[in-house]
Each structure stands twice: as structure tokens, then as C-alpha cells.
Symmetry: C2
Subunit: 204 residues, 2 copies
């Protein structure tokens, strides 16, 4: 939506709609609705939102070890002495770290690639944080690499690339199990997943 | 989503997710996705967004005449001498003014009620800008009132209230036509709309 579509009565409203419309998943209609909502917020709530946007840009850095977004380097996870330093879990995006942390079942370290190898989108190994991963793998205490890229074509290709080109021979390289989602049903599971679940069947 | 679910590594990220999550239609997942998008924006774009939020709060006022959100009172529409001052179009929300202005088919003035009469939601006539409308109707140059509240139960009730309690006898009070949406089909039109379209049929 261009500012022309909006009444000249309120250029700052038009500007806000335009800025919100740039965000992913927010079309012109939602941008308008959000803008009107923001106008009606108590001033302190609106300022809190604006400050949160500014603060996140000012305070966020990449952790020099795991490459995750953080407020300090090393980040709180890398700096946590209670975590196992022998297992590194490789993920595509910072949000994947959140998802895994929520499970509370992994107490090792992470490495965020910030993408996947995707020739169609022009993303090669050099655009990912693979060089940083390689240098971490040269440390002898690392014994296992869990490649937790997504179970997609690109995620699998990236996992294969890591195993072939980066991993030392004595390093255990694993991949998250593929199978039926908990709470799911066989009937609605796609063939590939079902076939993987069958192959990966475990003793009861 | 509470900040507890997010890694302590980035409190400002957690705060932004929380602020975004308060906006209507933005759940925890979208808030997270938006926050990561904002982190990766070039700094000037993120600051532009924050400034737009702040500016809209600082610059927006209610027009003393039509009660629309604007940057000055009277607003650009009310102050426009080329517009007919004899017809006032009553709408529920500021966004309705935008929608009508986009049609370029109305050149009169507006009046924004900021809601509809809705006993279920505890909104009575006193919570709407009806007193302001009444005082505008006392001016003798106003000859027609187009009540463009939504064609919903509440919208209709509000329209009826306006006609009964506010309009002078010599004032023409109209309502937007109900009928088939342009580009729509009879097959997928609900019965009430179709019946309204039939009642309101016009000579070809």
C-alpha cells in the first residue's frame, strides 16, 4: 500500500502502515489494523514497543562461538559451564535453538548455520557459518555432532555436506530421528515419513 | 509467551517478542518470527519502524468535527472547502473512512462513531461519538445523513438509533444498499443478502 491510498490527513499513520507492511506476513490490511491498534494504545505501551524494536537492534550480536543471536559473546549457552562441551548440535536458524531448548532434553552446545545449502536460492556452503563450525570441530573434546537441520531436501543436503567435508573420521555424526509425530496417526502420515518410521523401528 | 520460554541469552529479544505478541492477531510464533526479522533488518529500517510507532502516537489527534483520527483539527477532509457540507456519512471506524475515500464516489463529510451500540459488549450510545453527531446535525446546511455502519446486527441497531433519536424530521437519512457483491455469484451468496438484493432490485 502506498501512502497515496491513505488520507493525507495523517502522514504519520500512512508511514506506520507502510513500515508495518514491510514485515513478513503482514499485508496492507493487517498493517492498517495494527496501525490503528497502535494509535489507540496508551502512550507508554506504544513507546515500549518502539523501544523494544530499537533495543533489539542495539543489543543483539552474534555469539562468536555458536553464531547464535545473543546479547553477549560468548552467549549464555556457550558460557554455561554446566553444559556438556563434547556434543554440538547444528541447526539452521536461531529459532531452532529455542525449539530444542524448550524440550530440555539436550545439554550440549549449539551451532547456528543461518541457512541451508540451497542452489536454487543461490545459497552455497560459503554463505553459511560452516567455516566457524569447522574451526570448532578441530577442538579434540568434541566427540559428537548432531546435525539437526530440517528434514527437507535442503536440510538433508546440508547434513550430507557437513558429514562429508567437515567431520573428522573419529567424530560421531548423528541426525535427529525421523518418524511419526507424537499424537499423530498412521492414516494421515505421508508415505516418506511412514517409511522412515518403519525403517527406524525400535524394540519395545 | 513469557520471557521464561526464551533463552536468557537475549532479554531484549524476549522483550520484543512479548511486545509484538500483545498486538492483535500476532501470536507467540508470529511474534518470534517478526522479532527475528527485525533483528536482521538494516539498523536504519528497524529505527524507521520504531520512529513510525512513536510518531503516530505523538502526532495523532481526533478531529474536533468528524472525530476521525488525524494530525490536525479540523482534519484535511473537514477543512477541504471543495467538499459538500450538506451530506454527512456516519461510519463505525476510521478504517471505514479510508475504504469509502478509496471509492472516490463520496465528496461530503464524515462522522466516525468509534464503535457500534452493542449491549453484549457493554457499549451503549454514550460510549460512541453520538453527542458530537447531534451537535453537527443542528446546523441547518446538513440535509442528508448516510448511515454507513456495517450491515451487521449491531450496525443496523446503531443506524436505527440514529434515525430515531438524533435525526430531525426534515433530514434525509439513508443507508448503503445491501445486495450482491460485484464479482460475486448468486450460488455462493447467503440467503439474507440474496433476499435483500431481490427487494432492492433496480430497473435496467
Amino acid at each position: 500500500m502506498t501512502p497515496d491510498n491513505l488520507p493525507s490527513a495523517s502522514p504519520s499513520l500512512a508511514r506506520l502502515v507502510q513500515e508495518l507492511n514491510r514485515l513478513p506476513g503482514i499485508g496492507p490490511k493487517s498493517a492498517q489494523r495494527l496501525a490503528y491498534h497502535i494509535i489507540r494504545l496508551p502512550a507508554e505501551e506504544a513507546y515500549a514497543l518502539a523501544e523494544a524494536v530499537t533495543a533489539v537492534k542495539q543489543n543483539t550480536v552474534y555469539c562468536g562461538e555458536c553464531q547464535n543471536l545473543a546479547e553477549a559473546t560468548p552467549c549464555a549457552i556457550c558460557a554455561d559451564s554446566r553444559r556438556t562441551r563434547s556434543i554440538i548440535c547444528v541447526v539452521e536458524e536461531p529459532m531452532d535453538v529455542l525449539a530444542l531448548e524448550r524440550t530440555r532434553s539436550f545439554r550440549g552446545l549449539y551451532h547456528v548455520l543461518h541457512g541451508v545449502i540451497s542452489p536454487i536460492n543461490g545459497v552455497g556452503p560459503d554463505q553459511l557459518k560452516l567455516r566457524e563450525l569447522l574451526s570448532r570441530l578441530s577442538e579434540p573434546d568434541v566427540t559428537e555432532l548432531v546435525v539437526a537441520t530440517n528434514p527437507t531436501l535442503e536440510g538433508e543436503a546440508t547434513a550430507m555436506y557437513i558429514r562429508r567435508h567437515l567431520a573428522r573420521d573419529d567424530l560421531r555424526v548423528t541426525r535427529l530421528a525421523r518418524g511419526l509425530p507424537v499424537g499423530g496417526s498412521l492414516e494421515y502420515t505421508d508415505e516418506t515419513t511412514l517409511s522412515r518410521a518403519f525403517q527406524g523401528r525400535q524394540d519395545l
